[in-house]
Subunit: 317 residues, 2 copies
């Protein structure tokens, strides 16, 4: 039986799973990442986790074709090193090479948005379409472009960085050094910023009352009140949805994919968000008469990291 | 010998050529389009032109594998009809079907930006790269995305409409009904608009003196004065280049291609434009440390239409 190991490394825990060739998790487990430790110790634990997961699954390492790792960062296609992985404090570390030595298998590494996009295309909502763009509406806005169940990496490994397309020239300053990036208007952080502005203007508004201390303000508080019909939060929500749709419309003008898959924290607003985006998107299309990408919610939740990482090797086969 | 026919239809003339399998024109000729006539008469002339070109080339119709047509419009992938072709006054016409009947060969139709992009990838500046985006800086801004010498059509046939990505939310109104589309800032039309604004503010400026009547103002007048160092036109030029670079940077964030190929009327400004864009582009990149797409000028000029149209069949083979 051809099996694949997928590892999903986060700041808190590393999860690993044995995945079959169709993207089904047969067995999974996890261990603390322990990011305060040296890189070598973390990777040694990841390798041990892999061996344990395979053993506990009742399968053997011989059946494992390859190992994939999804990281909250970027591996340089030139050096094969993890160039940047802020949450883990990694900088130019040989993740691929070290794991390969420890496990004796081909190892693939990609960022978590690409991995989630791949997972959905193998075992989730985009499994029946040729082209999809996963959009993670989280602290920032990430993206993964998948054609025919393969991640589109770009020529220099930076394709799919959709959150940094500029939609407002000279707009809000972004961490990346540019201004007006899409993620400044379409991330959870944008919802929090707009919520904070609302509270500053109206210190007694329902949002202010709900969060009590403004430092507790999160995207969910804004979205929950919008769902309940609070006019201030609904206004924020509509502004937010408008910007999401402008970015999706740009991606349609360029890539014209079959499907957008919405992931990340904001996507937990579910049908409320989905229906608003579906209703609004046609207003921003260059040519609304032509059929356009379906918009769907990601379906694999926390398993996407393991499944997509495992399928990094599968797509290469 | 495997040969391909390419037809480049414009508002004034239809050009046709016999092209070899590497994108080299062996023989070409043209006839007036005669757009005042009925569709059937125009297509009959196109078919006659094809037969004549093949005969005069010294080859036979048996050697022709397929016929491709580049049009200033869009063919619907669903109906196979030319949905819209404003310059020719065509609307839902069976170009592909009629030519196929008249010539007895497979017929492919695509828009002129896609066709030019394909031509450059077979026989022009992008022939050695895997992924390229041709950007036509003309009356509007068009685009053609090519992967591995195939046009990327998108899932619904509207991929590559890069001129309609929004870069200034609530910006300049665009013909498409949206606001702030890239082409409102990066087309020849944008240079003319900025030139006109300059003349309104400074009726005695060198640009006003050069064009005399503002209705004669074209992009070349602005570019020529900028080249000569006129401060007003240089300011316009730098604003223009900045917007071009912001759009290219967005395309890098999403697609990360190997190369941009600049075509269209503005690209005739040549090295002056190219050097300015190359110098400016890194300032707008999300991650300037990572290598990015080369920027080059299109090299095939008027032959791109024939070559790319011919290669529409070649890529399918």
């Amino acid at each position: 039986m051809k099996l694949y190991l997928g590892i999903d490394v986060g700041g808190t825990s590393a999860k690993a799973g044995v995945v079959d060739s169709e993207g089904k998790i047969l067995y999974k487990s996890s261990c603390p990442t322990g990011i305060e430790r040296a890189f070598e110790a973390i990777v040694a634990d990841m390798a041990d986790l892999c061996k344990r997961v395979v053993q506990e699954s009742g399968h053997s390492m011989e059946e494992i074709q390859s190992v994939g790792v999804g990281i909250p960062g970027e591996q340089s296609p030139e050096t094969g090193l993890v160039a940047l992985c802020n949450n883990l404090g990694w900088h130019d570390v040989p993740l691929m090479g070290t794991l390969k030595k420890l496990l004796g298998k081909p190892v693939y590494v990609d960022n978590d948005a690409n991995v989630a996009a791949l997972a959905e295309s193998w075992a989730g909502v985009s499994r029946d379409v040729k082209s999809s763009v996963l959009v993670t509406l989280g602290t920032g806005v990430g993206g993964g472009i998948v054609f025919n169940r393969s991640v589109y990496p770009g020529a220099h490994g930076v394709g799919g960085e959709i959150g940094h397309m500029v939609v407002v020239v000279d707009g809000e300053p972004c961490n990346c050094g540019q201004r007006g990036c899409w993620e400044k208007y379409s991330s959870a952080t944008a919802l929090i910023r707009m919520g904070r502005e609302c509270i500053q203007k109206k210190p007694d508004c329902p949002l202010a009352q709900a969060v009590k201390d403004v430092s507790n303000l999160n995207a969910k508080a804004v979205l929950d009140l919008a769902k309940q019909g609070d006019p201030d939060c609904l206004e924020i929500f509509h502004t937010y949805v408008r910007f999401v749709c402008i970015g999706l419309s740009n991606l349609i003008s360029i890539l014209d994919p079959d499907m957008f898959v919405l992931g990340g924290g904001v996507s937990y607003a579910g049908e409320f968000l989905l229906n608003a985006i579906r209703a609004e998107l046609p207003k921003y299309l260059y040519c609304p008469a032509i059929p356009h990408a379906r918009v769907e919610l990601a379906t694999l939740g926390n398993d996407a990291g393991i499944i997509g990482a495992a399928m990094l090797g599968r797509e290469d086969a």
